[in-house]
């Protein structure tokens, strides 16, 4: 239920009461920032390129296609960067942020489960509705505020920089929504929801809905009628928790189709604009009324007129939180996101903005998706270059998501072995990834042009990439091996571990790499007693998993199984999956098994456009690390990054942080 109207309400109240103080506050922030940076001349820039793969990077460098990366590698070195267990972005970036393992920061997967309800949830944040509300007819007025909580724990490295008065700018850091309180300027990244509280829900309006439209994941298809060259429809916004039953707030819009040309005029609230077929709109601000004349909430979206006729097709992006009037906290200080919007224009605020779901659903074509992803890249680049330009001293982090998302979607375009490979896709997009590596190289060139003797540059990725040819349905395997059981009186469950017979289930899979025992005292209906029996069962399952061979290729499906207790330590160890499954290159947890489903077969081809992945054996997908300073570490990992950042500013790492600085100490320290 995002956004919380109560948050909005409080924000508005503050606005009204404190309007006169805002300019003074902003002035104070500027003074403070200047004051904090005045004593720090040293600069450290970290470019975070999600999903940059060392094999591809090395190949393109060897081919002379990435001159700036090659130059940087020559200056300070190029290493494979050990990733997290498992190699998933929220886990990996949390390792980097805290310098600690998942047992300490508590993030083990994109998806966690509540052992008491056995329902999954997104691992990095939690939304809690208001606990008290007043009901007046159809209206429900919250009397206590709702809350959004960041579930990643332990100090972020920039909180430590704060304590030493080192100014820092952190742009779009994953696993930092809502942003942890800080004196640094931080903008939330991966994990930030759209206005519906989801990771991104697009809308598609058409007079001829495609078959299976109701089952489309990550988006909604709305049937419309074209009458006298006009379409009337509604943008569906956040749930209106001010109204009984919490119906979604909506905004009407209209489309007038040109009778002869492939052109349409759109009218949304007070805004009118014309789109040609195949054209994207700029960001459109939409205001959803929660209480007439009293309470509104603002979002932004983009319209794409895909086709005028013979079939009308209009795509609307997920409705993003408006950075100019954020309904939820997006930055520290709170005004920072507004400042970024004022200086660079509107931008996607949702965590993962490339609309991979619309491409997977076939509602955007490859070329249309590439255009949309390119807009995301341009926005991220603009934000980063703004901050690069005004970096006087201190720390700057910039995050870029494009390589990761496009590696997921276009591996099939250059790998002929992929089940989704087609010559047509290859003809158009085989070199798409290479092109994006080149764009990263150009950005790197811009950064390197600004380096001086006081500036250290680190370029890194959280993990590499691999093909995703075949799906392994872990829960189905557990079922076939007798470790899990289903209730015979009900249909086979689609997901959420529904219809599992917990009285006969000893283990279950949830998330992309996790296997849990159905432990007595932990799970709601746990049957496996703790102690020797649980340990023996884990060993037995691990050995059997390592012995699984793909009948189609005779290759091992799983190359590594880690016991949580052996690779994690810390207060959250008990929350971790009991086993971390490391799939072989080419394999991944199947689509149906991730949310606790039991598909019909154990192994199957992955024919989806989502064709590359990294949620496998962590040894097979290291990230990259390059610097303009000599990297002395032979086998660096993500856990070394926080100590390195601190050391660059002469700050000792806190006790318990296991990593080491990548660099030799500076003379005179």
């Amino acid at each position: 239920m995002i956004p919380r109207p109560t948050s909005r309400c409080r924000v508005n109240l503050l606005w009204r009461l404190a309007a006169g103080f805002l300019s003074l506050l902003a002035f104070g922030v500027v003074l403070l920032a200047c004051g904090r940076s005045a004593g720090v001349q040293r600069k450290l820039i970290v470019l975070g390129l999600d999903g940059m793969d060392p094999e591809l990077l090395g190949r393109y460098m060897d081919e002379g296609k990435l001159p700036n990366f090659a130059r940087l590698a020559q200056q300070g070195g190029f290493r494979r960067l050990g990733t997290s267990i498992p190699p998933q972005s929220p886990v990996a970036w949390s390792n980097l942020i805290t310098g600690l393992n998942p047992g300490e920061h508590g993030i083990f997967d994109f998806i966690h489960r509540d052992p008491k309800t056995l329902l999954p949830y997104l691992s990095t944040s939690r939304v809690e509705p208001p606990k008290r509300a007043l009901r007046l007819g159809p209206w429900v007025l919250p009397l206590s505020p709702g809350r959004v909580t960041l579930l990643r724990e332990r100090k972020a490295f920039w909180e430590i920089l704060d304590g030493h008065r080192v100014p820092a700018v952190i742009l779009r850091m994953p696993a930092n929504f809502p942003p942890v309180e800080s004196e640094s300027r931080t903008l939330a990244g991966m994990g930030t929801p759209d206005m519906l509280g989801t990771y991104g829900t697009f809308a598609f309006y058409t007079d001829v809905p495609p078959a299976g439209a109701e089952r489309i994941s990550g988006g909604r298809v709305y049937p419309v009628r074209v009458a006298e060259f006009r379409v009337a429809a509604q943008l569906v916004g956040p749930y209106n928790t001010f109204r009984r039953g919490e119906p979604p707030a909506t905004v009407d819009f209209a489309v007038w189709l040109d009778p002869t040309e492939a052109v349409a005029k759109l009218a949304v609230q007070e805004q009118e604009f014309v789109l040609r077929e195949g054209e994207w709109s700029d960001w459109v601000v939409v205001e959803f009324t929660l209480i007439p004349h009293l309470e509104t909430v603002s979002g932004i979206c983009k319209f794409y007129l895909k086709q005028v006729r013979p079939v009308f097709q209009l795509y609307v992006s997920p409705i993003n939180i408006d950075p100019a009037r954020p309904a939820l906290p997006l930055s520290t200080p709170e005004a920072y996101v507004r400042e970024l919007q004022e200086k660079t224009g509107y931008f996607y605020t949702q965590g993962m903005a490339e609309d991979t779901r619309a491409l997977s659903a076939g509602l955007l074509t490859d070329a249309e998706y590439v255009t949309q992803a390119r807009m995301v890249w341009e926005e991220q680049r603009r934000l980063f270059l703004l901050e690069l330009g005004r970096l006087q001293g201190g720390f700057l982090f910039g995050y870029f998501s494009g390589l990761d998302q496009n590696s997921h979607m276009f591996w099939r375009a250059f790998d002929e072995r992929h089940p989704a490979y087609t010559p047509q896709t290859a003809a158009g997009f085989a070199r798409l990834l290479e092109g994006q590596y080149r764009e990263m190289d150009e950005l790197l060139g811009e950064v390197m042009a600004r380096l001086d003797a006081d500036t250290t540059l680190l370029v890194l990725s959280d993990h590499g990439f691999a093909p995703y040819y075949r799906s392994f349905n872990l829960n189905t395997w557990l079922l076939e091996r007798g470790y899990a059981a289903l209730r015979l009186d009900r249909p086979r469950p689609a997901d959420f571990l529904a219809n599992v017979d917990w009285s006969r289930t000893r283990a279950y899979g949830l998330g992309l790499n996790g296997l849990y025992l159905n432990r007595r005292g932990r799970e709601r209906d746990g049957i496996v007693p703790p102690g020797a029996e649980a340990e023996a069962l884990l060993e037995e399952i691990a050995q059997e998993l390592l012995a699984v061979r793909d009948p189609a290729t005779q290759r091992p499906v799983i190359t590594r199984v880690d016991r949580a207790a052996q690779v994690y330590s810390g207060p959250h160890l008990a929350d971790a999956p009991d086993l971390l499954i490391g799939y072989n290159r080419g394999y991944r947890a199947g689509w149906g098994t991730v949310l606790g489903g039991f598909p019909g077969v154990v192994l199957e081809d992955n024919r989806e456009v989502w064709s590359g992945d990294h949620c496998i054996d962590f040894n097979l997908v290291p990230g990259v690390l390059l610097s303009n300073r000599t990297i002395r570490a032979d086998a660096p990992t993500l856990l070394d990054i926080a100590p390195t950042i601190l050391a660059e500013f002469g700050i000792e790492k806190p006790p318990g942080m296991p990593g080491q600085s990548l660099f030799a100490p500076r003379p005179g320290r």
Partner: protein, 68 residues
């Protein structure tokens, strides 16, 4: 508009009125609804009220590209 009626004995109702005054609720109805909602949530799980909220949960998760 008026919802459902539930019978409560006098002694309990008096205690409810005391709680309303002590905790600052605006009415006995608001207090009773709040307590019942909390209990329903506890019994049906943290996600809320059964199949409908599972659908909400599914929507929230689906934007994540890694799942269907």
């Amino acid at each position: 508009m008026f919802g459902h009626r539930i019978k409560i004995d006098d002694e309990l109702f008096d205690n409810i009125k005391k709680c309303v005054a002590l905790a600052g609720y605006s009415s006995t109805g608001e207090f009773v609804t709040h307590v019942l909602e909390r209990e329903v949530q506890r019994l049906l799980g943290s996600s809320g009220q059964g199949p409908e909220s599972e659908e909400e949960l599914r929507k929230r998760l689906q934007g994540l590209g890694y799942i269907e």
